[in-house]
């Protein structure tokens, strides 16, 4: 059981490329943390630094209260599950799972007990004497999890463990991993580029871009209160709509103007932006066909439906609103057709306003 702390951690590779410029992060004991971001954002490097597979160029990395910068991977009390499973192909499932325990010279009885216990939890009992190549992708991933489990590590590291599985299996394994976390009560650090995995599994999520932490918060807070346009766009599927709007004064409040549409808001933070352009962010589900569905005051606008996708319970409308592209998620009971102009409304209670230059949030 251990916390993980990054203090001003820098990672520069031998070729001079700095992947992680300055990382400060505190992961609490027993927490399920997800590192998420696009490819090349430094999330895997961060995980590999925890594992000891990458050196820390400068700064301090703590596991518990011990600095582990120079500690070998085997002495960090961690276990890691890799994207490609990384099972030992010449060993049976049983030997794969028992390997670390054998190296620690644990008594054979103890090893058998732990392996059988893990196999039972992961439903691998039938496959214990098979070699990895005789297993399916999902089974292999479960063996990889089992191999990590039997060691009862202080920290569990998972590097995109589900990305090689098909969609159905991914959903299944997602809940298995979440259940495993509850059962083991260990610190989990999970890397993924899939925001759905991040949102469904993490106690807290670290959103990274270009080696910098953009926001570190709970899934709900990331979704409802993103700190900048990157987080707002990355978290949520389909992603948030961004519209260029101008702030105008309207009595005591302000209005966000785009085309003929005027979205009334009352945010003191916007006073200094009067007459300037800002970016309005609105999630596709906060655009409604029926003004009764709003939390805040509705604000109507008209848009042209370029294209429509039926998703079953809802339709995705690809809109053109005064020259700006938007996507709306509308329940399927409302009937729309392509190439028509419709009137929809924005829930002003769900608007996010961003600074156009810094891309940081102004107000929610």
């Amino acid at each position: 059981m251990a916390s993980i702390t990054f203090k001003n951690v820098v990672k520069t590779y031998d070729n001079g490329v700095t992947v992680v410029p300055d990382l400060n992060l505190e992961i609490k004991d027993k927490e399920f943390i997800v590192l998420v971001g696009p490819s090349g954002c430094g999330k895997s490097t961060t995980l590999r630094m925890i594992a000891g597979l990458e050196d820390v160029s400068s700064g301090e990395l703590f596991i518990g209260d011990k600095v582990v910068n120079t500690v070998a991977p085997k002495d960090r009390d961690i276990a890691m599950v890799f994207q490609s499973y990384a099972l030992y192909p010449h060993m049976t499932v049983r030997d794969n799972m028992a390997f670390a325990l054998k190296l620690r010279k644990e008594p054979q009885e103890e090893i058998d007990k732990k392996v059988n216990e893990a196999a039972k939890i992961l439903e691998l009992e039938k496959y214990l004497d098979r070699k990895p190549k005789a297993l399916s992708g999902g089974q292999r991933q479960r063996v990889a999890l089992g191999r990590a489990m039997v060691r009862k590590p202080a920290v569990f590291l998972l590097d995109e463990p589900l990305s090689n599985l098909d969609a159905k299996l991914r959903t299944e394994m997602r809940s298995q991993i979440a259940a495993l976390h509850k059962r083991l009560e260990t610190t989990f650090v999970y890397v993924t580029h899939d925001q759905t995995e991040a949102m469904t599994m993490g106690d807290r999520i670290v959103v990274m871009k270009d080696g910098y932490v953009q926001q570190f918060d709970t899934p709900q807070n990331l979704y409802n209160y993103p700190c900048n346009m990157f987080v707002a766009g990355f978290i949520g599927s389909p992603q948030m709509n961004f519209m260029d709007v101008t702030v105008e004064k309207d009595g005591d409040g302000q209005v966000l103007v785009f085309g003929d549409s005027r979205v009334a808001v009352n945010k003191p933070e916007l006073n200094e932006y009067i007459g300037k352009e800002v970016v309005m962010g609105i999630r596709p589900e906060d655009i409604h066909a029926n003004s009764n569905a709003h939390v805040g005051a509705p604000s109507e606008f008209s848009a042209f439906i370029n294209h429509m996708e039926m998703m079953g319970s809802e339709n995705y409308l690809y809109l053109d609103a005064y020259g700006q592209k938007m996507l709306a998620r509308i329940p399927a009971r409302y009937e729309f057709s392509e190439d028509t102009t419709v009137t929809l409304s924005i829930d002003t209670g769900k608007i996010h306003v961003f600074d156009k230059e810094t891309q940081k949030i102004i107000c929610h």
């Binding site: 000891g52 070998a72 085997k74 890691m80 390997f99």
Partner: protein, 281 residues
């Protein structure tokens, strides 16, 4: 129509390749037949004749070959040299290739190129300086000549091992490090078992070469004391240069047998190993 044409061309190819394979096999079959003939029936004129009731000598030539000229001693030397050399090549070259593939520096890259280059240097170019050096360093005994073989065999072995090694995912080795292995344990417990197909194919190729090699042991070893089997074959000459053809043929057959057995046993792995190195390298 197309099928008939294809069939015809297949038949033509079968005939051409059949004739070629007979041409390749013919000398070996000839040696086999002659090894079963009486000495007097092997001459320039009669060498191509099949054994008849009068000329058939049974296994007499084989018995003669084994009993004269110290065949068993030579067999022992050949075995010792082949086993030690192949073992050294497999162990050291696998380790070296692991380093070259995993530690990416200019130096390791340079070393790899040197190994590849050593494959194209003809042995004849270095043989005289080599025999001098071997004498100076006392590497001229059957029990330490493997050091020389290691050097000459390393080019091909490193090339093949490195080719296969690149296809082993690094993550497997990282997983073993996290599981608690030190580098030596990672090599012997994880990497080496995964190298098995390449090990077998490199082993067979190198064993064939060392076992059949004539030039290097002739140059390096003390010819009076230590004769490997390929060296021995030429000593089946009686006085005044008379060649004992029967025992010589029998000796050649005896030499070929072990290597053919090894090859047949490991044939599947040879193809697997060579293909793995070539395709994924």
């Amino acid at each position: 129509m197309k099928k008939a044409k294809e069939k015809k061309s297949n038949a033509i190819w079968s005939v051409i390749l059949g004739v070629l394979s007979i041409a390749y096999m013919y000398p070996i079959v000839m040696i086999l037949f002659n090894s079963l003939k009486a000495e007097r029936a092997i001459s320039t004129n009669t060498a191509f004749k099949l054994p008849t009731a009068e000329t058939f000598a049974g296994l007499a030539n084989y018995v003669n070959a084994i009993n004269s000229q110290g065949f068993l001693k030579s067999l022992g030397y050949s075995l010792l040299i082949t086993v030690t050399s192949v073992a050294a090549i497999l162990l050291f070259c696998a380790m070296c290739s692991w380093y070259i593939t995993r530690v990416k520096t200019k130096i390791s890259n340079g070393i790899y190129l040197l190994f590849a280059f050593s494959m194209v240097v003809p042995f004849q170019m270095v043989m005289f300086t080599l025999s001098q050096t071997a004498d100076m360093l006392s590497l001229n005994k059957p029990w330490n000549i493997w050091i020389i073989y290691l050097g000459f065999g390393a080019g091909l072995a490193v090339f093949m091992f490195a080719g296969f090694m690149k296809s082993i995912p690094l993550e497997v080795e990282e997983a073993s490090m996290i599981d608690g292995c030190n580098p030596l344990q990672t090599f012997f417990m994880i990497v080496m078992p995964m190298l098995k197909p390449t090990m077998v194919s490199v082993g067979i190729l190198e064993a064939m070469w060392v076992w059949n090699d004539y030039l290097l042991p002739t140059l390096v070893l003390d010819i009076k004391k230590y004769r490997t089997i390929p060296m021995l074959i030429q000593y089946f000459r009686g006085s005044y240069g008379r060649v004992e053809m029967g025992p010589m043929m029998a000796c050649i057959m005896l030499t070929v047998i072990p290597i053919v057995i090894i090859y047949l046993a490991g044939q599947k792995h040879i193809i697997k190993g060579v293909a793995a190195g070539a395709v994924k390298g």
